[in-house]
């Protein structure tokens, strides 16, 4: 027990990094993903096609590869060449990647809303923006809660990939101690931390689902 307390310091620090990457990614990639989804379903064919290609690229290559590319290769790309420190590089990669997944969830959700909802709003004089904001998107939220819950839980665990940029997230911190002390206890503690974080998310999403259960469709 004393040993667990001893290693708590570095593990908590690692958890801090993990939580930061998680929260910043979530806060940026959800609205970004929504924008992508709206462009994807818009009638501007070129934009829609570009977004489609973007989503294919982001979902079709490993997140770790994207992160390595942004950190190591981006500085050498002509014109946009920019050297990012490790933390911003990780955030950019996570945001770009997760926005693509969120975009697909939003798109499927938006397209699952019946045409009649748009027409019902239209004949009441509502504009496209008003219809989206007041009628369609609120209903989409209810429908996408389960896949969003999945994706955010995956994000918690995906944050461990930032070790490739030599950042000390929870898992890398644990591994460091394991290698130093020749004991697997830090892994167990790290697992408990991950479980705790995903538990909070699970409960949060369950709460939202209950809130949205006040109406049936």
């Amino acid at each position: 027990m004393n040993y667990v307390l001893d290693i708590m310091g570095p593990l908590l620090e690692g958890t801090g990094v993990t939580v930061q990457v998680f929260l910043i990614t979530l806060v940026i990639s959800v609205p970004f993903g929504l924008c992508l989804a709206l462009l994807r379903i818009s009638r501007f064919k070129v934009l829609s096609g570009l977004v489609n290609g973007y989503i294919w690229l982001m979902r079709g290559t490993p997140l770790m590869l994207q992160m390595l590319f942004i950190y190591f290769a981006l500085p050498f790309v002509p014109v946009i060449g920019i050297r990012l420190p490790d933390f911003p590089a990780a955030i950019v990669a996570f945001v770009l990647n997760y926005a693509a997944y969120f975009a697909e969830i939003f798109r499927a959700g938006i397209q699952s809303i019946d045409r009649g909802q748009y027409e019902g709003a239209r004949v009441l004089g509502m504009s496209y923006t008003q219809t989206m904001r007041r009628i369609v998107l609120p209903q989409v939220v209810k429908r996408i809660l389960p896949p969003m819950s999945n994706e955010t839980i995956t994000l918690v665990k995906d944050t461990s990939l930032i070790y490739v940029l030599a950042m000390n997230d929870l898992l890398r911190a644990a591994r460091g101690i394991v290698q130093r002390d020749f004991t697997t206890t830090p892994f167990v503690v790290a697992a408990a931390f991950y479980l705790l974080m995903t538990l909070v998310l699970t409960l949060g999403f369950q709460h939202l689902e209950k809130k949205y259960a006040v109406y049936d469709e």
Binding site: G120, A121, G125, M126, V214, Y215, D216
Partner: protein, 250 residues
């Protein structure tokens, strides 16, 4: 009120409206009857721009929604005018199209608030009066999924009326309802007619058409075959296809 001239509408190569002309005076109640697939819904949807027409002219209350010049190209009014003109018409759909995430009351006040910018407390008395009128004031805080089909349709009528339209379009408002629930919806519509609302009603309810409508329009194959006072059309249909249709309905 409504003046449609030579309206043509195609879906791909399928010509659904083959030159439909119809005029309607203020306060008139018109019923459109006809076999399914004859273009009744499409015509209604062209009037409020849910569909765009291929040629023809439509005026609403003296304002041009769409016109076609001699070269056959049709011109719609600019967007802002379109919205204003279409805003004069309310519409009730076969499948209600209520907003499931909003309560009955919220369904009714949503558009007055977002479109007209009214404050909640300003629209509330009117919304409640409308709900009382359709007999659903006690359901004001229920969600649509908890209502019967007849109740849903009455909410849809109240919702449309909350925007204070001059014209109401109904597209088979009772066709999705169990027979025992059609009466309550038809009653609400009848009351509306008695208040001299201008109404265009696509319906299979022949009794309603006969008793409430001032004129009945028979459509078949994308054309209006006859449009006459209700009692004349039912008593002595002129067109053989009207006669065949009416015989089938009885």
């Amino acid at each position: 009120m409504i003046d449609a001239r030579d309206v043509h509408k195609r879906f791909g190569s399928l010509e659904v409206l083959k030159g439909v002309s119809l005029t309607m005076a203020k306060g008139e109640v018109l019923a459109i009857i006809g076999p399914s697939g004859s273009g009744k819904s499409t015509f209604l949807r062209c009037l409020n721009h849910l569909e765009t027409i291929n040629s023809g002219c439509i005026d609403i209350e003296g304002e041009t929604l769409v016109s076609t010049v001699s070269n056959g190209i049709c011109h719609y009014a600019p967007d802002a005018d379109l919205r204003r003109i279409c805003g004069k018409m309310g519409m009730v759909f076969q499948h209600f199209n209520l907003f499931p995430h909003l309560t009955v009351l919220q369904n009714i006040i949503e558009a007055p608030m977002t479109v007209k910018g009214l404050r909640r407390e300003d629209i509330l008395p009117r919304a409640e009066a409308l709900l009382r009128k359709v007999g659903l004031l006690d359901k004001r805080d229920s969600y649509p999924a908890r209502l019967s089909g007849g109740q849903k349709q009455r909410v849809a009528i109240a919702r449309a009326l909350a925007m204070e339209p001059d014209i109401m379009l109904f597209d088979e408002p009772t066709s999705a309802l169990d027979p025992e629930l059609t009466g309550e919806v038809l009653r609400a519509m009848r009351e509306l007619a008695e208040e001299h609302m201008t109404m265009l009603v696509v319906t299979h309810e022949m009794a309603f058409a006969r008793e409430v409508a001032s004129r009945v329009v028979f459509m078949d194959g994308g054309e209006i075959l006859e449009a006459r006072p209700a009692k004349d059309l039912f008593a002595s249909p002129e067109h053989p296809r009207t006669r065949a249709f009416l015989e089938n309905m009885l």
